[in-house]
């Protein structure tokens, strides 16, 4: 019994030992120990694995290890920051080690062997690009968006430039036009014919202006055909193939304003092209474009004319002066009483009639600058507009002499005949089908007629008509035979 009595305090002392050690430590430390285990159930294992990794080869320290040994162990560990901390935690670590020392050894047998090889075979899997959270992988998309932005910027810049050029042209020509035409600017939509006084924008690169109300002409349509500066693709293609802005003037005349002839002058290239493309030039001016040096104009310009008299009449001194001074700006000048536009592709089986013609003067001018035009360059086109006005007045007075007129008439008759010949077969077919349609319609009418009397009468009338036709034909045949004889 007495032994028991002595054993009890000993047991109590043993139990109190950890308490004293705990009291040796700061309260903070003690609380931390408990908190560690409370918050993170695996904290103990964490500490254990660290200690065992470091201390695997060392002998596990005895259970009731004095503080000195844990100090040594702690020194080996690299994670302790300061001595105070070391002092605080060393006991806790020692405690863990004491508790799990045997477990450590058994658990991590052969650990070192596997460790290096595991590191060698570590494979880094590539994270898919869209999960990488980096913008660099989307560089193609960024490129596309940049391209679009560049296109939009070019659109705005190009549109503004074209608009400024058009306005500059109009400002420099306004006075001349307003002094010559009663109506300057009309889009055709307003009820009354009042001058709008501004250009009609058809496109971002085409501007129209209609002027009317003058002697010697019906009206004048001016088209400012600029380059497509608003389209980036066009800008890039122009870097390889330069082109220039054009001003096209089309003057439509009344019948009495011009005599019957066809004439054209312009750059050699343009003349060759127009001769192939245009209906009237190909029919009436069959010869190749001739050089105009005889009249004093530069060699770069060529002439297409229906007859020599026309050229002589058109090429007066003032005209020659205009052509010589502004030869670089003139693409083509075309006077025609048979103008019907470019050659129309004829479809098979379609009965054709001659295309409608209109007395027209066409001028095509190149704006200087070859694409790099500035608004100031528009002023240089003013003399050319003067030339247009001059031509309108001149052609009113230009009349062919008798010989010339006869020749012109013969030419036109020839062209018409040719046309009729070519379409003869088609027209015959068309006439035949029309006749058959008529007969069928009549027959149907007769059949549909309910009254038998009327039916009979209609049939008789039809028969009589047929008889008459046959007789006429016979008469014709007889006449032909008589003539032949």
């Amino acid at each position: 019994m007495r032994h028991l009595v002595f054993l009890l305090p000993a047991l109590l002392l043993l139990l109190a030992l950890p308490d004293t050690r705990g009291r040796y430590n700061d309260d903070f430390d003690d609380g931390e120990d408990i908190a560690e285990f409370d918050d993170n159930d695996f904290a103990e294992f964490e500490d254990v694995s660290e200690d065992s990794a470091v201390d695997v080869e060392k002998e596990p320290p005895p259970r009731a290890a004095p503080p000195s040994i844990p100090v040594e162990d702690d020194e080996d560990e690299a994670t302790v920051e300061n001595e105070d901390g070391q002092d605080e935690f060393e006991d806790a670590d020692a405690q863990d080690q004491d508790m799990y020392s045997k477990y450590d050894n058994e658990e991590f047998e052969g650990y070192e062997k596997t460790n290096p090889s595991f590191k060698d075979t570590l494979i880094y899997r590539e994270v898919p690009a869209h999960l990488q959270n980096s913008w660099e992988s989307y560089y193609m998309e960024i490129l596309m968006v940049t391209g679009l932005l560049a296109y939009i910027m070019n659109y705005i810049i190009g549109k503004n430039k074209n608009s400024r050029l058009a306005q500059a042209w109009f400002n420099s020509h306004r006075e001349l036009l307003e002094s010559n035409f009663a109506l300057v600017g009309d889009d055709g939509t307003s009820k009354e014919a009042t001058s709008t006084g501004k250009l009609n924008q058809e496109n971002e690169h085409i501007y129209n202006l209609w002027c009317s109300g003058r002697v010697c002409c019906e009206g004048m349509l001016i088209q400012l055909k600029f380059l497509k500066r608003q389209d980036l693709l066009n800008v890039l293609s122009r870097m390889m193939r330069p082109a220039c802005d054009q001003v096209q003037v089309k003057v439509t005349l009344n019948d009495e304003d011009m005599d019957t002839f066809v004439f054209a002058v312009g750059s050699r290239k343009a003349m060759a092209r127009l001769q192939k493309e245009l209906q009237d030039l190909s029919e009436f001016c069959g010869d190749k474009p001739k050089s105009g040096t005889k009249y004093g104009i530069p060699d770069s310009l060529a002439i297409l004319s229906e007859m020599g008299e026309v050229t002589d009449g058109v090429m007066d001194s003032k005209m020659v002066h205009y052509l010589t001074t502004h030869a670089d700006k003139i693409e083509s000048i075309h006077f025609s009483d048979q103008f019907s536009g470019p050659k129309v592709m004829q479809e098979e089986g379609q009965p054709l009639k001659l295309p409608e013609t209109k007395k027209t003067l066409l001028f095509t001018f190149n704006v200087p600058g070859m694409g790099n035009t500035s608004p100031k360059d528009m002023d240089s086109l003013l003399p050319l507009m003067n030339m247009v006005i001059y031509s309108i007045d001149k052609l009113k007075k230009l009349r062919l002499n008798r010989e010339g007129k006869q020749k012109a008439d013969r030419n036109r008759a020839r062209v018409e005949e040719n046309f009729l010949k070519h379409t003869h077969a088609q027209r015959q077919e068309a006439a035949q089908t029309r006749r058959e349609e008529k007969k069928r319609a009549e027959k149907e009418r007769i059949m549909n007629e309910e009254d038998p009397d009327r039916q009979r009468r209609l049939e008789e009338a039809a028969q009589r008509r047929e008889q008459k036709k046959l007789e006429k034909k016979q008469m014709k045949m007889k006449q032909i035979k008589v003539k032949a004889m």
Partner: protein, 106 residues
């Protein structure tokens, strides 16, 4: 100047109204670019949507932009807007279905 300074060449009584040239009889006058680009844009956007090709959708956006830049002012804006919206939707759908970035063909 050949204008007779004494007489005014203007004749208010001889005014003719402007008649826009009939492009049906003369189809060569019209520029076919906006119509072609519109059609091309629609085809590419349908390809992009159906076949889930991102580059098709991007080209469709470009086509609709080019068509808009070349269009005439008299043309219907609804047509332009519809092709534009279609191409944008093609791009968006392609990326929603497959957010991976576009890989270059080289």
């Amino acid at each position: 100047m050949t204008v007779n300074n004494m007489a005014d060449p203007r004749r208010p009584t001889k005014i003719f109204r402007y008649k826009p040239p009939n492009t049906e009889t003369n189809p060569t006058l019209e520029d076919p670019t906006p119509d072609y680009m519109n059609l091309l844009g629609m085809i590419f956007s349908m390809c992009g949507l159906m076949l889930k090709l991102k580059w098709c959708a991007w080209i469709a956006v470009y086509c609709s932009f080019i068509s808009f830049a070349n269009s005439r002012s008299s043309e219907d804006t609804k047509q332009m807007m519809s092709s534009f919206m279609l191409s944008i939707s093609a791009v968006v759908m392609s990326y929603l279905q497959n957010p991976q970035p576009m890989s270059p063909p080289w």
